[in-house]
């Protein structure tokens, strides 16, 4: 019965989204205040409630272990712990698609309630959001229904893949989807603005908070995923340039570009067309990501199983969204207006440079990710493009972008002039920590790229600290201070990520050794002693747990588990963390060594300063959140008025200008 209600609710949500699209469109034609506009908003509400209830019913089916539903049967098991019964609801394709659709609907309702101030624009955006939701709900209802029955119902479920039985499954996908799907709101507002012929500035103001919120969530989702991949053996570490990682990284890069270019458009009217274009393409790349992850066309450790039909559907949705977006853009880009001019050393110019580098990086990543697919379609000899490509192409571009980043907050709008800014930030003084870090990295024999990234990381940190220190005094209002903290924290976060990434790229090689209890090995100057290996069974698995003592003090306990339901072995990494970095240990099966002793295969690695990556990501997300708060509480900042004259040597910086150029 539950399955039938679930199917009905999904169908209802689909129809509600369709109604939302049509009614809100009509409402926008009537100026956004008519009954049709209100009906469109009500339809959005129905879609949210229906999809939310369907999602709840799916979770209930998991809790009841209702194996007559194919999706539950293939992703659950009676013995599975409660948390994985709940999070298992989005542990596979159909369930995660339902989550995706629900979030799409939620953003539709969000737009209807707290969308753009201009009601006609708001209603039009609700309509576009309805269109995007309709596409995905159709996919859900007709090609990925999580409530599909199975006959005969199996007595026992196949269990959720043991590797996915991790607490992070509960929050990583929802966070990531809020990010991916949140970009749809920016798309909807951009498309709506093109239809309404709103000016570039108004449009940038309307879409920026949505882009900011989505981007911060996407950052958090990617960071949680990177953390998970770091401690899950066989997923290649925290960042591996895997196609699925790239699929989330491309919208992230464009989102980062978008939230910066929207500042320039909002404050100075610069790059209006580019800002709108970014808002459109960021979401299109989100759908491309869904295609790469869910169609099985690429080799990835994170991909879903092969299903060509699904791929065709997603390609169709990708096509509709892209054609609609770009067609509108081509037709109406002229209505966005032109910004005032600016000099090469102005803040606009640096935001432009940052955008150029981020977008080009996204392009380079796109080429590396899609080229193997292209080669396969052409029937040429199959190839793969791995980390060496991305390390040599995307990484230098990102290092360059991070090197320019600390300067921008010290540059005046429009007329530019780098000298006063460089003097103010005491650039010469800031080069000292950079030199220190560079020397340290060279001392430890780091690769060239890591030395560069480490130096840039130190430069970004010093620059962010100076930005906060200098501009705190000029930022008088609470809003300006919020915005300044957001910017400084996010930029410091980038610095920490660069430093942590550089340190991790310089780590010593992993060591594999067969150790018998009582024996020791050494990595990075630390002595690891295998004390014992004991049985430590869990609710739905059997496990061997090793106790390994580090330097005779702390202990680390890696495990090797066997999940009978899935007939699968997993290794749980043991981490020993301190301020210098992580000792990373895993234990393999017991085998008889050449000398006849039973020994365990121990794999040891040392990841220096890896906590900086986590701290950096946390700061970026926090910074994004603060910038969003500043925006929500402070309203739309006034246009920065600068008299653009080549004669004026000193640009009159408005009081708000210094502090509210947000993260």
């Amino acid at each position: 019965m539950i399955a039938e209600i679930g199917r009905f609710l999904i169908a209802l949500a689909f129809i509600a989204c369709l109604a939302q699209t049509l009614l809100a469109w009509r409402g926008a034609d009537q100026g956004g205040r008519s009954g049709a506009a209100r009906a469109g908003a009500a339809a959005a509400e129905i879609a949210v409630i229906a999809a939310g209830l369907a999602f709840l019913l799916l979770i209930i089916s998991f809790l009841r272990s209702d194996f007559s539903i194919a999706y539950v049967a293939s992703h659950s098991h009676v013995d599975k712990p409660l948390i994985y019964k709940i999070s298992g609801a989005w542990g596979g394709h159909e369930g995660s698609m339902l989550l995706w659709c629900w979030i799409l609907a939620l953003f539709g309702l969000g737009l209807a309630r707290i969308g753009p101030k201009d009601l006609a624009l708001r209603s039009r955006a609700v309509s576009f959001q309805g269109l995007l939701s309709t596409l995905f709900f159709a996919f859900l209802a007709f090609a990925s229904n999580p409530f599909e029955r199975i006959l005969p119902a199996p007595i026992q479920g196949a269990d959720l893949n043991p590797i996915l039985q991790d607490p992070l499954l509960a929050i990583h996908p929802p966070m990531l989807y809020v990010g991916y799907v949140g970009l749809s709101a920016a798309f909807a507002i951009a498309a709506a603005g093109l239809v309404q012929r709103s000016g570039g500035r108004a449009l940038a103001s309307a879409l920026r908070p949505w882009a900011l919120g989505a981007w911060a969530s996407l950052t958090a989702g990617i960071a949680l995923g990177a953390w998970w991949a770091y401690y899950e053996l066989g997923w290649g570490g925290w960042w591996f340039w895997d196609p699925v990682e790239n699929a989330s990284f491309m919208p992230w890069l464009l989102g980062a570009a978008l939230i910066h270019s929207a500042i320039a458009t909002e404050k100075r009217g610069a790059f209006p067309g580019w800002t709108v274009f970014l808002a459109l393409i960021a979401y299109i790349l989100s759908i491309l990501g869904a295609f790469l992850v869910r169609s099985g066309v690429i080799t990835s450790v994170h991909a879903f199983a092969l299903d060509p039909e699904r791929g065709v559907w997603i390609l169709g949705m990708l096509g509709v969204s892209a054609v609609a977006g770009f067609f509108l853009f081509a037709l109406r880009a002229g209505s966005l207006g032109e910004g005032d001019g600016f000099e090469p050393t102005s803040r606009e110019a640096f935001i432009g440079a940052n955008n150029l580098l981020l977008a080009v990086t996204a392009g380079v990543v796109l080429i590396g990710t899609l080229y193997p697919l292209f080669v396969d379609i052409m029937g040429w000899p199959m190839i793969s493009v791995g980390p060496p490509y991305f390390d040599a192409s995307a990484t230098p571009l990102l290092i360059l972008a991070a090197a320019l980043m600390p300067l921008a907050p010290f540059l005046p709008w429009a007329n530019g002039g780098a000298k006063p800014g460089l003097k103010q930030m005491r650039a010469a003084l800031l080069l000292l920590p950079v030199a220190g870090v560079v020397i340290a990295f060279v001392w430890f024999g780091a690769p060239v790229m890591a030395v560069a990234a480490g130096g840039v990381g130190a430069w970004a940190l010093a620059g962010a600290a100076m930005d906060a220190r200098i501009h705190w005094q000029t930022a008088k209002s609470r809003t300006a201070r919020l915005a300044l903290s957001g910017r400084a924290l996010a930029h410091a976060g980038v610095g920490f990520i660069a430093l942590g990434g550089a340190a991790d790229a310089s780590r010593p090689a992993d060591i594999h050794r067969a150790l018998a209890p009582g024996e020791s090995m050494t990595i990075a100057g630390r002595t690891l002693t295998l004390e014992d290996v004991r049985r430590a069974d869990g609710p739905n698995f059997m496990a061997d747990r090793a106790t390994i003592r580090v330097d005779g003090r702390s202990t680390v306990r890696p495990e090797r588990r066997f999940y009978p339901a899935a007939n699968q072995t997993t290794r749980e990494v043991g981490l020993g963390s301190d301020v210098r970095g992580d000792i990373y240990l895993s234990i393999g099966e017991a085998r008889t060594r050449e000398d006849g002793v039973m020994a365990y295969e121990v794999r040891a690695a040392f990841h220096p300063l890896v906590w900086m990556l986590g701290l950096g990501a946390f700061l970026v997300v926090t910074g994004g959140g603060l910038a969003l708060c500043a925006r929500v509480t402070g309203g739309v900042p006034a246009k920065v008025k600068v008299k653009v004259k080549r004669e004026s040597a000193e640009a009159p910086e408005t009081p708000a200008g210094a502090g509210s150029g947000q993260a």
């Binding site: 450790v301 199983a305 092969l306 380079v364 000899p381 490509y389 192409s393 295969e601």
Partner: protein, 160 residues
């Protein structure tokens, strides 16, 4: 005049970055591209010793040896030819006999393949596309993966 000047330097800067990035991407791609060889392709036209390649196929049942020194040796097949793979690391948890895997590494002068990495998916019903294509070309496999047909049809796997 101002507008024109502004446009000009924006376009110049953009073009310069694009050209540099394209050059970067092109050279990186040339150096980093790794070709896939099925066992049959290796038998016909083996890659140069030391050249970094990917090989893949189904792990032959009973072929996995775990030497006491650590690591593992195993054979993959596409039904027409076999490759013996030596791997010093610890095999991924999802490594199984009969399963499709991809290994990246190089052949030495004696035509032994030493793998640096062995890729197995976090989904046991998933077949690497290269392996699927190689098996289809060798006529070893034309319907779904070996496990298809049981009710675990749709995906198991998450967003990561």
């Amino acid at each position: 005049m101002r507008q024109a000047r502004k446009r000009l330097w924006i376009i110049a800067a953009g073009a310069a970055v694009l050209v540099a990035a394209a050059a970067l991407a092109f050279t990186a791609m040339r150096d980093a591209m790794v070709f896939f060889y099925s066992p049959a392709m290796v038998a016909e036209n083996p890659p140069l010793p030391g050249q970094r390649v990917r090989v893949g196929g189904l792990v032959v049942t009973g072929s996995v040896e775990r030497p006491s020194a650590g690591g593992a040796h195993f054979t993959v097949t596409d039904g027409r030819a076999d490759i013996r793979i030596e791997f010093a690391g610890s095999l991924p948890d999802l490594f199984r006999e009969g399963q499709g895997i991809v290994a990246e590494g190089a052949f030495d002068e004696q035509a032994r393949f030493t793998a640096q990495t062995v890729l197995a998916k976090h989904d046991e019903t998933y077949m690497p596309p290269e392996v699927a294509r190689a098996l289809r070309e060798s006529g070893y496999w034309n319907d779904g993966p070996p496990s298809a047909g049981q009710y675990v049809g749709p995906a198991s796997g998450a967003s990561r």
